[in-house]
Structures are given as structure tokens and as C-alpha cells.
Symmetry: C2
Subunit: 351 residues, 2 copies
């Protein structure tokens, strides 16, 4: 049997009889207000590298006492993370990542010539004592809540304590908030502080993955200016039309997000309950759109699920969590149901 | 007088009574076929990181015996250069750049943790003997013809000799061909060879700067796969809609390019003749859309031209060429005329 060794294997695969629990992208379209921007759009020149002024201004209210120039609009959260890490480069700089982690994080750190280090989560939760041992001397700590792949949300109290510690130790916080609008249990807490760098995106909240619009924000103007300086040479402005679409999405009625939350919650309940019935060991997702059950020999499982049962799933090893498998539930309930039936077959035959 | 110390100073400045010979971007709109793609477009999901299959396939005929998977579509030529250099990273790797250079090149090299080294051009032309001394042991040599900021085109014979030398010495060639369709004198030669990496863009040829679509091609599949691997983590797919627009532009009738060539040539003649009449020392542009006259004390000149004469120009120091000033002629002949009058005033008062 061929070995599937990274998410790239699945790129471009889908459709037909295949059920994909793979890629983490909404199947729900962006608000119509975003598409309305396409009508008769005729701009074509470079935009400011920092981003469209109107979009930066529209983001200000989300960040207390912020200013438009504290934002930089990027090619998705991916580029924001890449540029921020490059801006934070120092020789032998150590970046603390959660484990399990979003699979790109360690690559991002190494591509910025920094060194990844890890703080292990317990059932997806940060263990403060563990973290405290790792913090001193780190260049930055990355926080992801709600999290990919664990689906967990960290408590505001804990995140405030990390803010306090980071400030005391003079360490940057990079907080990846792309799932901030997808919380089912608990509460999203937006970290602040003078050395906090926030990463966010229009991809998950507004179903705009393919358009690649994200941003970084920090009250530390120096780091944002450094990001803009790097971006000037490495990609220039983010697509001008995509930024207009993002702005229109941001200004669209809040109903869009609320209605989507309801849909995501329904899917979450179905897949979580379904997996519990199958006897799988998993925690209930509090946010984002992933479940992360224990499945032994996860690489073999992912291969078999794909080649024998026509289901795409992601191996926990890619996220630093062997013997778990990630299922994205960014697909409609009918498909989730069929997928669960196939998973049941797989589990039955495996015993 | 304030000191203007980089092109960033001018970003967002323009309009009104200001004449901008600054940013190198066409003022001519993309083909209508590109904008037609906006009508009723409703896609929103991630695309393949490598790029839309149809766009990669459409580029194949331009590269003899190439394959679609030898291309990767990027956020403009800027990202292509950034990713290629990151893929070429080796400790202490040395990258040979022309001098004068496009101002981002040395930044790109350093941002990839490589070391820039320079081969000096004589009146914009490569001096083979000079280059030969620098080549051995370099990781890659960057070629830019037609060139920014010099406006020169290197001869096919010379470029073939460099191909031969690079192959003999096992050195990568990075050839930045974004001005390939803008040649007035001589002939564009497309470098090939097993370790040549071509950078190109839709920005200049099709007036699509703001949409950020470029690409890298190489017959060396390993290097392209490495670029795709990096891009998977640092920006994912290039904007899906912009790629559709690029594809439509590529397929639009050739008249678009021919008609534009005529316009560029007219502007070139006007600015070159005008500057000769003013007694400036410059060479006649063979390609691209820049003139690069000698003007002593160029930083002071750029400041004075902006603050006293309402003209944006770029200091030669930013391109590694002190005592020269770059004028982009990407603006209509009426404006070029006014700009030349102001320049005449400046020169008269300076004497």
C-alpha cells in the first residue's frame, strides 16, 4: 500500500464518491456583499504594501485603542505568520509552539531560520506549569485558540496569565485567531499586550480561503513596520480586489456569521456524537471545525481509509500527535453521515 | 530638507499636480478579457498551491519541451524570487546580482539568508570577463534582461555564453524576464538549460500589477517542487480569481501587446530625446520602461525634484548606482512633456 506522508497528497483530490474530512476549509460561500464587489471592478494598479487604507481602518474597532497603521494585510494568515516570524528573526531564536500543532507551524519557524520548541497540550489544553519551564529565553510563544487540530479553546484566565508572564519575560506572543468566530463552548479571549502580534484571516470566518486575505496586527509598531518592509520585497500588496471583497465581507450583516455558527454546531454535534457511538476516544470540540480522535497506527489508518473506504482524513503525525486522526467537519451533514458509516466499517473490519 | 531614503516614501503619493516618474507600473489597463472573468465568478475554495492546472498548461508552449508541473504560480514575480531564493538556500550561499540592480534583489537575497555579491555592468551591459571572475563557487547568478533600472537588453550570444559557463560550473541561473515583451532594440533571449529558473509576471505585460500574479519555471523539477513545498506553508495558492484573469489575459489576442509596444516606444522616444536635449548623459533604453540618466548628488536631486518641482523620481543609490536617477516612463506623453519641462527648470536653477 502506498504511504500518504503529508496533506499535499490530497490536494486536488475530491468529488465523486469520495468523502473528504481533509482540508480545513468552509464549504459555505462568502457573503454576497463580497461577490458584489466584482461587478464592474476595473482597478489594476499596485496598492499600498500595508494594505488598503479602508480595510485597515475597518479593523480598528476590533482592537481597543489601535490605529490603522498597526495592521498589515497579507496573503492569508499563512503569509502573516511567515512574515512575522521573519521579522522576529534573531540568531538562535527559539519559538514555542503548541503540540499538537497546525502542521505548517514548525515549517514556518524553520523557514524563518528559527528553532521550533514545543509545549505539550493535555487533551488539547495548555498546562501552565509545563509552559512556564519553556518560556524563559524564548523569542516568542505561539498561541492558537480555538485550535487546529485539537478543536479546543483555552480559558481567558489562562491566556491572561500567559500575557502577564510574556510581558514579565519580555517575550513576543503570536496569537493565531483565525477560528475566533467559531466557538461552541467557553469564550474566545483576544490577547493584548505590548508585544502581542495577532494573526487573523477572512478565510474561515467568511469562506474566502481561495482569495487569500489575512492580516497581522500589533501595538508594537516596529514589528509591523518590519513586516511591511519585508513584504515590500517578497510579495508587495495583497491582491487589491480580494481586499475589497474582504472589506465588504467585514461590513456585511452579522447574521452571516450567526447563521454559519448554527450550521457548524449542528455538524459538530453529529460527528462528535457519531464517533462516541463508534466507541472512539475523543474530546468534544469547543471551537474550530475539527475532531481529533485516538486511532492507533494512524498513518496506516489514513492510508486504509483513503484507499479502501474512500475517505480523506489527516494523520495525527502531521500535527505532532501520533495515534490520532484529524477529521475536518467542513462538509454537509449528509456527507458526514456517509463518512461515519464508512468509518464504522473500517473500525469493525480492523478489530 | 527631509531626506527621502527609499521608494516606500512615495507609496500612495500621486495625483493632483504631481508628475510621477516613480513606480514602475503600466498605466494601461489589462485586456478586457481579464476583467470579463469577474462576471458572475463564484468560486471561493483553496486552489492547488502549484497554481491552476489550466494556467500552468497555457504556459507550456512558451518553454520548449516543458511540462505543466514545472511551473508554480506566485504572488507576482516578487514572491517567485523570494521562494526560489529560499529554495536555493545553502549555508554561506552566494548569489550574484547585476549592479545596478532592481532595488529589491539584495533584500531578497538577505531575507533568504544568502549573501549578495555583484557583477558590475558597464553602461548597463554585462562584462563577461568581470563576470567570469565572480562565477566560480556562486550558488546562483541572477540575470535581468530587459533590465530595471538600466533599460538595457543583453545580447543572445552573451546570454548563451553565460548559460554554457553556468552549466559547466554547475551554478543555478535565475532569469527575471518580467520585461520580456518590452524590447525596442535588439532581441529578447529566453535562457534555458537544466539549472535555469525563469521568473515572469503578468504585471508588466498585461497591466495587472495590483492582482499579483507571476510564476517560476524550471526544467529542474526538484527546485520547483521545493518552491511548492515552501509556498504550502508561507502563502498557499495564489488568489484563484487573479489566476483566472491571468489565464484570460494570456489567451487574449496578441494585438494587445503589439498596440502597447507602440505606445511604450513613443514614450521612450519622447523622454530619451527630451533628456538628450537637456544635455543629460544617458543611454538609449533598449527595453522595459526606464531611463537612468547621470545626475550628480542624486539623493539631493530626488528630494529637490519632489519638494520643489513636484516630480517623483527614484534615487540611483537605491539601485546601487550613485549619481544616477531613475525615471519610469509609465505615464502618458502629455505628462512626460510637463515632467521634462520641470526637469529643465531644475537643471537650469541647479547650475
Amino acid at each position: 500500500m502506498p504511504v500518504i506522508d503529508s496533506p499535499s497528497f490530497f490536494i486536488g483530490k475530491g468529488g465523486g464518491n469520495l468523502i473528504s474530512f481533509g482540508s480545513g476549509q468552509p464549504d459555505l460561500a462568502p457573503p454576497e456583499e463580497a461577490f458584489a464587489k466584482l461587478n464592474n471592478y476595473r482597478e489594476f494598479k499596485y496598492g499600498p504594501v500595508r494594505g488598503l487604507a479602508a480595510l485597515c481602518e475597518a479593523l480598528v474597532p476590533t482592537y481597543p485603542d489601535s490605529k490603522p497603521e498597526q495592521f498589515v494585510i497579507t496573503n492569508g494568515a499563512s503569509e502573516a505568520i511567515d512574515l512575522v516570524l521573519r521579522a522576529l528573526y534573531v540568531p538562535n531564536g527559539r519559538i514555542l509552539l503548541p503540540r499538537p500543532y497546525y502542521y505548517s507551524y514548525p515549517h514556518n519557524v524553520r523557514l524563518a531560520h528559527l528553532t521550533p520548541d514545543y509545549y505539550d497540550l493535555a487533551d488539547g489544553k495548555i498546562v501552565l506549569e509545563e509552559l512556564k519551564k519553556k518560556l524563559p529565553g524564548a523569542r516568542a510563544i505561539l498561541i492558537n485558540s480555538p485550535a487546529n487540530p485539537t478543536g479546543t479553546v483555552q480559558s481567558p484566565e489562562l491566556l491572561k496569565e500567559i500575557e502577564r508572564l510574556a510581558e514579565e519575560l519580555d517575550i513576543y506572543i503570536i496569537t493565531d485567531n483565525v477560528y475566533r468566530e467559531l466557538v461552541y463552548v467557553g469564550e474566545f479571549y483576544q490577547m493584548g499586550g505590548p508585544k502581542t502580534i495577532t494573526i487573523d484571516s477572512f478565510s474561515k470566518t467568511y469562506g474566502m480561503c481561495g482569495y487569500r486575505v489575512g492580516y497581522a496586527h500589533s501595538y508594537d509598531q516596529k514589528i509591523i513596520d518590519q513586516v511591511v518592509e519585508i513584504k515590500t520585497h517578497t510579495s508587495m500588496n495583497t491582491n487589491i480586489l480580494a481586499q475589497e471583497m474582504a472589506l465588504a465581507a467585514l461590513k456585511s450583516p452579522r447574521d452571516y456569521i450567526d447563521e454559519h455558527s448554527r450550521i457548524w454546531r449542528e455538524r459538530r454535534d453529529m460527528i462528535y456524537e457519531g464517533m462516541k457511538k463508534l466507541g472512539l476516544d475523543l474530546w468534544q470540540p469547543e471551537g474550530a471545525f475539527y475532531v481529533f480522535p485516538k486511532i492507533t497506527n494512524s498513518n496506516q489508518a489514513v492510508n486504509e481509509l483513503y484507499f479502501k473506504y474512500n475517505i480523506i482524513t489527516y494523520d495525527g503525525n502531521w500535527f505532532g500527535a501520533p495515534n490520532r486522526v484529524r477529521f475536518s467537519y467542513a462538509l454537509d451533514v449528509e456527507k458526514i453521515k456517509i463518512g461515519l458509516e464508512r468509518l464504522a466499517e473500517f473500525l469493525k473490519n480492523r478489530k
